[in-house]
Amino acid sequence: MSKTTNLQANNGTTDRYTEEKTTGLKAILKNTLLKGGPVIAFLLLAIYLSFASPHFLTGSNIINIARQTSITTILAIGQTLVIITGGIDLSVGAIAALSASIASVLMTQQLQIGSMLIGPLDFGWGILIALLIGATAGLVNGLLITKGRIPDFITTMGMSNVIRGAALLVTGGLPVPSHITATEMKGYLPDQMVWLGNGNLLGLPVAGIIAILIVILGWFLLRYSVLGRSMYAVGGNRDAARVSGINVDRTKIMAYVLSGLVAAIAGFVLAGRLNSANALMADGEELRSVAAAVIGGANLAGGSGGAIGTLIGALTMGVLSNGLNLMNVSAFWQRVIYGLIIVGVVLFDQWRRRKFSS
């Protein structure tokens, strides 16, 4: 049988076999840059900031970063699943806002629907309803994309507007609880919810613990479950996945459902931290979560990415925004800088992909 491993082509085109070089300084450098890039960027940034600002390396600031980063991290894990299947979910911020808003309204007010009086619901029902709303929104996204054959980008962008609008309708554009409901009906958010956002457990911020748990679940799902494997297969090569019997539509729908589900969790934690929900919260988180996933090594064309990388990506984003605050960069400039980072990261991703394929 064939003992040759060198390249052969008989139809005039070069074959796709190239020896992977793992020796040589250039190759090592390239490899590190491709694979270890996120960690290096994160460390450099952290080292720089610890010299640039005396407040950076303090316990309270680090806990602060953990709290701030946790929302992006939770959303970015869902986003990672979607990006691995080759999609993009630009509705995660809106889903977080809608699910938290509806749950908060139900937990703080008494509503009359027909002749029934509902609420105020307790914390358990609130979180269940939030999760249900998140999953349903994800399901609608997934169905529109797979069965309706609308591009992922357009679907989730459009749905994002629908969902934000729905959240505005539900809250009447006011924060929940508003000062009216809070004073007249004594409708405050449940203590447990505030604890999720602001509390500590064994000295660690609860929001951070939730984020880490979701990272671990995401990592486990991607590495050990058939669903995770199907996601890589569908995003890596849709046709090949289909030929191998993978249910492509169901895999994509599941990614969006899970993304909606974790968006609901993020919304709940965020509302707890702010001690209030509103229809416009988590604005811009959809792009931050995409940036976190891509910094962490996810490829926008699908087929690669991972939970740990995404965590590092989210931390990088969190440390950066903390650093900009510590260094008194104006909020307007921060917006410009975030925009540049997101574009820059995708640019880097394109470059990486070209290097990778050549």
Partner: protein, 495 residues
């Protein structure tokens, strides 16, 4: 009719790709007003040679003259300016634009203020179509035209630039015979105007109809050139095929058993219809057809991909009801796609690729034991002699033959009883081909039923126990052992 003016002359053209000598000392010339047929099997080097003439590939060495002037390095633009026009096998028209826009795309007439001058465009298109005696409405959208007329538009577009040398790469592969006759009329018209035409084909029947001279290529070399009037088909086949068939095709006969797979009256919307056949255990059933005869769509439809609209597929006594790939795989079917990129997840490693078909049969919530997966991969790497024998490597870094083995391992792993090999040797080197054939025989010996779809005549004749010939979406003949290339071609291309 042949003038003596030499339009194009090539001497000692060499081209190497890493590991393969694609063109070896190739000499070729073209006279004004002749149709020079370039004949050869897939991979003989025809397309590489044409790419060098049209400037999209650079030659390693060798000399090239156009109209008596020696030409150095060529690029596509340069080649066009020299009067070389190439009509590619795949149509490159924009279906949503009109005929006129397509002919003059990139070169639309403009008014003074830079707006497209539609009136003049239509007029120019009419002139261009008239000069080729075509009666097509220049305002019609390309997408609404039959394929043959699209082909003519493609020629009109190239011809619009007044080429002296026209290269046609298998122009009839998607045409019916009547449509082909129209194309030939057009070619004869150009011929009378002194255009030199290089006509690439692997259809022997067409040579007598249109050719002036014929050159046969094989394995990157010119085997010979003769005048068409003096040639006979058998001699040409001999030249195309070469010798030592036994080494290339290690066929062992397996014991043929019961029916394992049955197709009843399978129809698709417009690619194939009325497909009936049975496949037995241990049998290699060949399906032969020229390009576009429907065999490619059939292969995919059998697995449940796409276009089947009615009919039954029965595998191992199970009627496939939903007929999704998932159900077909569950009952033991597997498909090696003609394009390996469509079969592999190139950025995943070997174990993930090999186990993909069994994963698709598991519930989405079940868990994967990575260690078992690695062991399965190690076993197949060993038994199929996949080189290099490393499993934690992305499959994109394996050679064509080894990638094919990895796809095969996937179907062995999912315990396939019926395997469809769609163009199994496309893009694989000679020793890799022999490996794939050996594995096919080995599988047949173990009782697997194999459907081998191929447009390579020698390999299908050598390997298949029985051959079905398809033409225009139907099975038109069943050939038993001992059939010849002529039998195949006659059945595949006649009316």
């Amino acid at each position: 009719m042949v003038e003596n003016r030499v339009l194009l002359r090539m001497e000692g053209i060499e081209k190497r790709f890493p590991g393969v000598h694609a063109l070896e000392n190739v000499d070729l010339d073209l006279y004004a007003g002749e149709v020079h047929v370039l004949l050869g099997e897939n991979g003989a080097g025809k397309s590489t040679l044409m790419k060098i003439i049209s400037g999209s590939l650079e030659r390693d060495s060798g000399k090239l003259w156009v109209d008596g002037n020696e030409i150095g390095n060529l690029n596509p633009e340069h080649s066009q300016n020299l009067g070389i026009g190439m009509v590619y096998q795949e149509l490159s028209l924009c279906p949503n634009l009109s005929v006129a826009e397509n002919i003059f795309i990139g070169n639309l007439p403009k008014t003074k203020i830079g707006k497209v001058d539609w009136q003049r465009l239509t007029q120019m298109a009419n002139e261009s179509l008239d000069s080729l005696t075509l009666s097509i409405n220049p305002k019609e959208l390309i997408g609404n035209l039959p394929v043959a007329e699209q082909q003519m538009i493609e020629i009109a577009r190239v011809f619009n630039k007044n080429p002296k040398i026209l290269i046609l790469d298998e122009p009839t592969s998607a045409l019916s015979d009547a449509e082909r006759d129209r194309l030939f009329e057009l070619i004869r018209l150009l011929q009378k105007r002194g255009v030199g035409i290089i006509y690439i084909s692997h259809r022997l029947a067409e040579i007598k109809m249109i050719g002036t001279r014929v050159t046969v290529m094989r394995d990157g070399k010119i085997i010979g050139t003769t005048i068409v009037k003096d040639s006979d088909e058998n001699q040409l086949i001999q030249m195309m095929v070469g010798k030592n068939l036994e080494d290339q095709f290690p066929k062992e006969k397996a014991e043929i058993g019961d029916v394992i797979f049955e197709v009843n009256d399978l129809c698709s919307e417009n690619e194939f219809e009325g497909i009936n056949f049975q496949l037995h255990t241990g049998e290699i059933l060949g399906i032969f057809g020229l390009m576009g005869a429907g065999q490619a769509q059939l292969a995919r439809a059998l697995l449940g991909l796409g276009s089947m609209v009615s009919g039954e597929v029965i595998i191992d006594n199970h009627l496939l009801r939903k007929h999704t790939p998932n159900e077909a795989i569950k009952h033991g079917m597997g498909l090696l796609t003609r394009d390996r990129r469509e079969g592999l997840i190139s950025m995943l490693e070997v174990p993930q690729n090999i186990t993909l078909a069994i994963r698709s049969q598991e519930s989405m919530s079940s868990l994967i034991k990575l260690r078992d997966e690695k062991k399965i991969a190690d076993d197949y790497v060993k038994s199929l002699q996949i080189t290099p024998p490393i499993t934690d490597r992305k499959v994109m870094y394996f050679s064509g033959g080894n990638q094919q083995k990895i796809v095969l391992a996937r179907w062995l792993c999912s315990k396939s009883k019926v395997l469809i090999f769609d163009e199994p040797t496309r893009g694989i080197d000679v020793s890799g081909k022999a490996d794939v054939f050996r594995l096919m025989c080995h599988l047949a010996n173990q009782g697997v039923g194999i459907i081998m779809i191929s447009s390579e005549m020698q390999e299908i004749l050598a390997m298949a126990d029985r051959i079905l010939v398809m033409r225009q979406g139907k099975i038109v003949a069943e050939l038993d052992e001992g059939a010849t290339q002529e039998d195949l071609l006659r059945n595949a291309s006649e009316f």
